[in-house]
Amino acid sequence: MVNTRRNGWSVAADAMAIGLALLWLAPLIFGLLMSFRPQAAPISSGNIFFGCQSDLSDQQQALIDEREAGRSITFAGCTVTRSNYDAAWSLTNGQWPRFFLNSLIFVVGTLAVQVVTVTMAAYAFARMRFFGRNVLLFALLLQLMVPTGLLIIQNFATIRRFGLLDTHWALMLPYWGSAFGVLLLRQTFRQVPYELEEAARIDGANLAQVLTNVYMPLSVPAYIAFALVSISSHWNEVLWPLIVTRTDTARTLTVGLSLLYENSDTGANYGLIMAGTILVVAPLVGMFMLFQRRFIESFASSGIK
């Protein structure tokens, strides 16, 4: 399919690819531009980029200079400010660092427990024979058909009955058992040569040692795929954290972003909202840029978000 000949078609296809990519990129670019604009310089026709003063009155300019003093730089008639980020930061009583920490606890705590539970179950399903194995595996796989995300009402009642509302446990518990992870690692473990386990057993290794010294090192790519999928889906989770958190103790970044909508009664203060959004998405997009190739391979091989 890779066409090495340069002809009219291939130039047209290049142009189309770049055009579509720019179209897809536009919301991010304009969001970024918006987040650095002074609030006193609203976008208007012919002025959709930075707060360039071409059509601002002297009065508006004076307002910008006054409000953005010390937070902005102006060059060539354009003002770039960080006041939106300051405002987004302080809007939720300066709780962003806490939300960030909560998101981190949620994501890391979920992944850490998942790795343990999933490894154990995957080994049992891959290498042990026991009564009812296929029935139990099928029961687990029902989770793929009826996603946990649909059962928010009943799960909320369960969490409330456990008395765990508004804790980190409430966020993490439903995600600790992962049928998808079991399936992924079971496939990987089955490809590990059994002779390696046998050799380790003869050397006196117990099950825990066999898992940590034979199976896990040989399945690192599968673990990375699972980790990336797990991290990105839980970092982006909104509905469940919104339901089980009521105070700032366990709220995640995405809940903070939702609060931004509820608390900002200014209506169309998009600069503020864009700044808040960028604060939320920056960690994951940054991580993606670091591990781009890995990320794409992982998503392609796993298929579940």
């Binding site: 399919m1 890779v2 066409n3 690819a17 579509l20 990519a21 897809w24 990129l25 304009f30 918006m34 609203p42 976008i43 026709s45 539970t117 999933v118 154990m120 179950a121 049992a124 042990m128 024979r129 026991f130 009564f131 139990l136 029961a139 687990l140 029902l142 989770q143 058909m145 009826v146 996603p147 995300g149 649909l150 059962l151 009402i153 009943q154 600790w176 058992g177 049928a179 079991v182 059994y194 970092w235 982006n236 909104v238 509905l239 339901i243 970044l253 995405t254 972003l257 939702s258 909508y261 998009y270 909202i273 959004t277 998405v281 997009v285 781009q292 794409i296 392609a300 091989s301 298929g303």
Partner: protein, 344 residues
């Protein structure tokens, strides 16, 4: 009774009463067929209970969690959907009403759930609309970005990054684009002398606006799978087709698309499953919630969760939603597997 017959001389059924019986006889847990990895045992070892219980102990944590948070709630959802609940000052026990809750959902003059039919229609339009546009766009993007272009990584990132954003974050970019007064699209439209629209406030436009936003978010994610599919097709098939004089579009029609059919089936299943669950963008694009013309089923359930009188209805709605996911998943399989049989 003291039995002097050695344990292994007894028939299996009688061994149960033997005093030397292991607590968990092997026959209870092991399958009868021989496993290739089993080596013949020369010495009869009485294995400790732990060995027989080990696989169950290993899967216990996962199974327990999946049971508590998926299997049991799924059963409870169906069960609770047959009841009406009377909480409040003087609570009464729930009353069994059979399918009355489901009937009420489709009763458009019902005081609590009169919106349901509208919401269900919205959800179907939103999901089907997202799928039928985002998958062809994903294929187009994959075909375009599976070539040698300068800065390929940047262009792939440009189309993939929306999948990494939280749904509410992705939607807040679009809240700015769609904004009524100071939104970007309207600003550009007015600068060309056109009339701006209230994209998320107008009841006729809001569902389309939400769908377009979701297509933008999902297409790059599905593109990844098409890219992986394209790269797994052996190059020499195309060389053979080239020799036979097949043009690009003939190759696309007769080679690429049939070879990507498995990927497409997979993507259809994934896309429908996600489509019914993608509602968080409504947190940001709230304009459509005013008269329920832009609301979606899972978000509707989420909004009504705080009133315990709705409990029966909420469970009935969840059953319908899960049923839709299952129907679309199974339908995709049936449709595609049948086509495969026809081709031989």
């Amino acid at each position: 009774m003291v039995c002097h017959v050695p344990y292994h001389f007894l028939p299996i059924s009688a061994r149960f009463f033997h005093p030397a019986r292991p607590i968990f006889p092997k026959v209870f847990f092991m399958e009868a067929t021989a496993h290739p990895l089993d080596r013949p045992r020369t010495v009869a070892v009485r294995r400790p209970i732990f060995t027989h219980a080990l696989p169950y102990l290993l899967i216990a944590p996962t199974f327990f969690l999946v049971f508590i948070f998926t299997l049991w709630p799924a059963i409870r959802t169906v069960y609770d959907s047959f009841f009406i609940f009377f909480p409040g000052r003087n609570p009464r026990p729930p009353e069994f009403v059979g399918l009355q809750n489901y009937a009420d959902l489709f009763d458009q003059s019902h005081p609590i759930v009169s919106d349901f039919v509208q919401i269900l229609t919205n959800t179907l339009i939103f999901t089907v609309g997202t799928v039928i546009f985002s998958i062809p766009i994903a294929l187009l993007l994959a075909l375009l970005l599976n070539r040698r272009i300068r800065g390929l990584g940047i262009w792939r990132f440009a189309t993939f990054y929306p999948a990494l954003l939280p749904a509410v974050g992705a939607a807040s970019f679009w809240a700015f684009l769609y904004g009524n007064q100071l939104g970007l699209i309207n600003t550009i439209l007015t600068s060309f002398g056109l009339q701006g629209q209230n994209w998320t406030g107008d009841p006729d436009l809001v569902l389309g606006a939400i769908t377009v936003q979701n297509i933008w978010k999902q297409a790059g994610y599905y593109m990844i799978f098409y890219l992986a599919g394209l790269q797994s097709i052996p190059r020499d098939i195309y060389e053979a087709a080239d020799l036979d004089g097949a043009g690009y579009f003939q190759q696309l029609r007769y080679l690429t698309l049939p070879l990507l059919r498995r990927t497409t089936l997979f993507l259809l299943v994934v896309a429908f499953t996600f489509g019914f669950q993608t509602v968080e963008q409504l947190e940001a694009l709230r304009g459509g919630l005013t008269n329920q013309r832009g609301n979606l089923l899972l978000y509707y359930i989420f909004q009504r969760r705080t009133d315990p009188r709705n409990w029966g209805y909420l469970n009935a709605m969840t059953v319908i939603l899960a049923g839709l996911v299952l129907i679309f998943t199974v339908a995709n399989f049936v449709f595609f597997e049948r086509r495969e049989d026809e081709r031989g």
